[in-house]
């Protein structure tokens, strides 16, 4: 814990002690930074709500690491603030910069300390300029996710942002121009809805990906995000430590799974086009039992996470963490059982037909709806960060 506390206290001390750095304080208000912090939490929740579907664009375009790398490379961030070349061309610098100084956690590091908004009289103009650029980049990344899953390409502005993002974020020259083209923009929403046109050969294949996406984040939350600090493997593995947002992050991750399995963003019960509903009503008793078990274990996992003693950064070894880890393990197992049964229906026309329905609903009502909310909240966060300055 001592090491952890030391990291928290580093702040930008190295920046303010440097003679070359501009340490002038931004002309803003405390209300402004508090609004930005509030909007960061909303945008953060929306991001955590996407973690059950990190496959596709988030992975292939490396948007997940670009926006959600942790821990923050605090020394590097301090160095960037002192780097005139980078600071004078921030928008381009950020496109290919070290992910450890970008995204949610880069913003969190500048905006928060010990769970609270920083004081406005501690925020320098350099920091302000920096987080404006990072927040804009974050918005572009989230807009790209939305566009990449929008099978109807319904938002021309965000579609164009996505084209630019894909063209420049892997390879730009010093002027910020794309250097050649490596793989064109792909519409993952279309591919997911149309088996055989992309990475998913059958509709069942794509439906199984829904489960796999859930299991991936359930495992990460239970085994790594909560598990590693709890088991004492390493207490420094605590994400979102500056905002004390960890338990909220975990909860929102599992809400992401609930949305995916129940068939809509904000779902409370399974929709008729959802995977769970189909498994409950498919006419196979084993599958129905497994689906019902998933529902029970899902609610239990959410309840156990909510019951964890907060903040996690201080209470990571509390017994309530073990209860959450166990509940997540049971949920993972239940999903695994359901997936194994479903795999036995490869080639079954009824299953294939209904998986097509499930997948189309999943793309539109879960993935696209969540990414749209994410991009909207990221835009709002960007605007509120800009407005920190009077």
């Amino acid at each position: 814990m001592a090491a952890f506390a030391a990291v928290l206290s580093i702040g930008f001390a190295s920046c303010t002690s440097d003679d070359d750095a501009d340490t002038t304080i931004v002309a803003g208000t405390q209300t402004g930074i508090e609004k930005a912090c509030s909007d960061w939490k909303v945008a953060r929740a929306n991001w955590e709500n996407t973690e059950a579907f990190l496959f596709g664009a988030a992975d292939v375009y490396s948007i997940d690491p670009h926006t959600d790398t942790w821990p923050v490379a605090a020394n590097d961030l301090a160095d960037v603030l002192r780097d005139e070349r980078a600071m004078s061309n921030l928008d381009n610098f950020i496109k290919t910069a070290n992910s450890g100084i970008l995204g949610y956690h880069g913003l969190e590091y500048v905006l928060f300390r010990q769970g609270q908004p920083r004081k406005i009289d501690q925020i320098t103009n350099l920091e302000y300029n920096y987080i404006c650029a990072v927040a804009k980049d974050l918005y572009y990344a989230t807009a790209t996710l939305e566009a990449a899953w929008d099978s109807n390409e319904s938002n021309a502005e965000r579609h164009q942002i996505a084209l630019n993002y894909v063209a420049t974020h892997n390879s730009i020259n010093d002027d910020g121009d794309a250097e050649g083209a490596l793989g064109a923009f792909q519409n993952f929403g279309k591919a997911f809805k149309n088996p055989g046109t992309g990475d998913w050969e059958t509709a069942l294949d794509a439906t199984l990906e829904i489960i796999s996406g859930c299991q991936d984040i359930i495992g990460e939350v239970g085994d790594s995000k909560i598990g590693l600090p709890y088991t004492g493997e390493d207490a420094t593995y605590i994400e979102s430590p500056y905002a004390y947002n960890s338990i909220t992050d975990f909860y929102d991750n599992i809400v992401s799974c609930k949305n995916a399995l129940f068939g809509s963003k904000g779902a409370t019960t399974p929709s008729q086009q959802s995977l769970i509903y189909f498994c409950q009503h498919a006419g196979n008793a084993t599958l129905a039992t497994q689906a019902n078990t998933v529902v029970t274990k899902l609610e239990a996992a959410l309840a156990k996470i909510k019951a964890m003693k907060a903040p996690f950064a201080l209470y990571y070894s509390d017994d309530s963490c073990k209860a959450a880890i166990d509940a997540l393990g049971e949920l993972d197992d239940a999903l695994g059982d359901m997936a194994e049964t479903l795999k036995g229906y490869a080639g079954n026309d009824v299953v294939e037909t209904q998986c097509q329905v499930i997948n189309e609903n999943y793309v539109d009502q879960v993935v696209l709806a969540t990414y749209r909310a994410l991009a909207d909240s990221a835009l709002k966060l960007y605007e509120s960060i800009v407005n920190i300055k009077n």
Partner: protein, 572 residues
Amino acid sequence: MNKLHLFGIALIPAFIFVGCADEDAAVSEPTPLSWDIGDPTVTDYPEDYYAGGLLGTTSENSSTAFKQPSKAVVNADMMQAFNEGEYLFEKDYNTNTEGAFHGLGPVYVRRGCLYCHPGYGHGARQIDYKADTHRNGYLLVIYDKTTNAYIRSVAGMPQTGAVKPFKAPIDERQIKIAWNNYTDEWNNQYPDGETYELIYPEVTIPYSAYYAPVVVARGGNDVTLSEAEYDNDIDVRLESTIGIYGTGLTDAIPDDDITAQWKSESDYFNRIGKTDALNPAMWDQTTGTWKSYYSNSLQGDGTKYVRRYTYAMSRGPILDAAGANAIWNITNVTRSDRRYHYLDLAGTYYATKSSQDPEVQAGFTEYINRIDPSNAHPEWHTGNLEQDIYTYLTSKQLDPEMTDAQYKNLMIWHRGLAVPAARNTTSEDFKKGKELFTQIGCAACHRPSWQTGEDHIQDPAKFFTSDSDMPRYPHQKIWPYTDFVQHRLFMKNDIRTGWCRTTPLWGRGLAGKTGSGTERMHDCRARTVEEAIMWHGCKNEGGTSDAYNAVVKFRDLTKEERNQLIYFVESI
């Protein structure tokens, strides 16, 4: 394949509204849908479905297919360790001096593992070289054309990243990667008229991109090259990462069995009069014996092991192979058995240049006070900056930044990754493709299956000593599709030395879905399986490819047969 009885009426998943006096309620409360899908089909999979054997195969073929633990991990009750190892693999290291994932630098190839192993698999083709670009799995291979040896003034895996005040050994902004079109002897056309395209990389690093003078070894001496000599004598190649999954399983193949494969090929080539078919640096074709073994006398006791990993076959057992090395040398994160920095091959040129660089000197005091705030290493704080910098960079007593427990967990994860089951194994196209794969000669080098042995742990570095340290895979039939032998393809701008170990093919068809690079060959020049096959058919670039005859036969297949063979390769 579907043996289920289906009820026709249930086939149409339509809303059925129940007649009701309350029409509004009827509209808003449709009768729940139901189906009758019967029981699942039980498929009797062929043995090659279980690519990693019963202990090392995962049935997961989704985007997380390459990330799965094997049954051996679960059986050994090592899931917690596996999970931490996975975390260490997935996160970036940073320049913080404390806390999670600290210890990056002073120079580095990448900040973390996923940059080069996206989705845990193969790197993706790049059009420039940037260490911070995700999916860039390239290592720069800079070598002296006159000796085929790496230059000595940068690392074997050269760094382009540095922590201030230090400077990168190579300025990556000056690296150029051009992709040129290649026309083969058949004018990129099959006998049936179908055409294909081939591209290859031409990499240039100007003399000005090097921080320290460029030095090569000639006649036992280090020789500093002028710019003109550099331009004339030095070539650059790219080598991409391959997938990590399954490397624990191939580690379980007995040394003797790999030796037997080399011996078998050696005898065969001798019989047909091709007496220079195997790499003379590795194998004596006259005596049918190894000329080179892997051993580690620095951390280990010099015991000799059969080589089996990397394109160049530079490594033996997995516990002292590419991954064990990379977690240290790619990031320069130290651990108890590697308490020194990975710098240039000679170990002096970068340190000397840095120690005399006024800009490095200007920032060193702040840097070293951050690294060693308690002055635990007074030899780095004497005030003689040139001496302090040199002493620090070349120190053999650096503080470990990764704990032994972390390193062990990383290696448990590494050895514990399962291989995805083969797909489509019961389909007719798979079966036909499999037949063709053997028939035209692909299987001669891409040997389909191996049998693992007792799988007692071997670690040349002697860090791991007990069978209980690792997940193990005794007596498994596995399907990696490689002979672990080096061959030559004689491609345009070929790999350094021309000798390349046959790359395992298992799992590669899932590269797109897992977010890995879908390209094949050592430098990602093949954008498709078809292009990869055709790159095996060169004979106008200094020699005739060892796979030339197989490609000739591939060309003579019908389009449907070619597609079936490709389908098979994508499915295994």
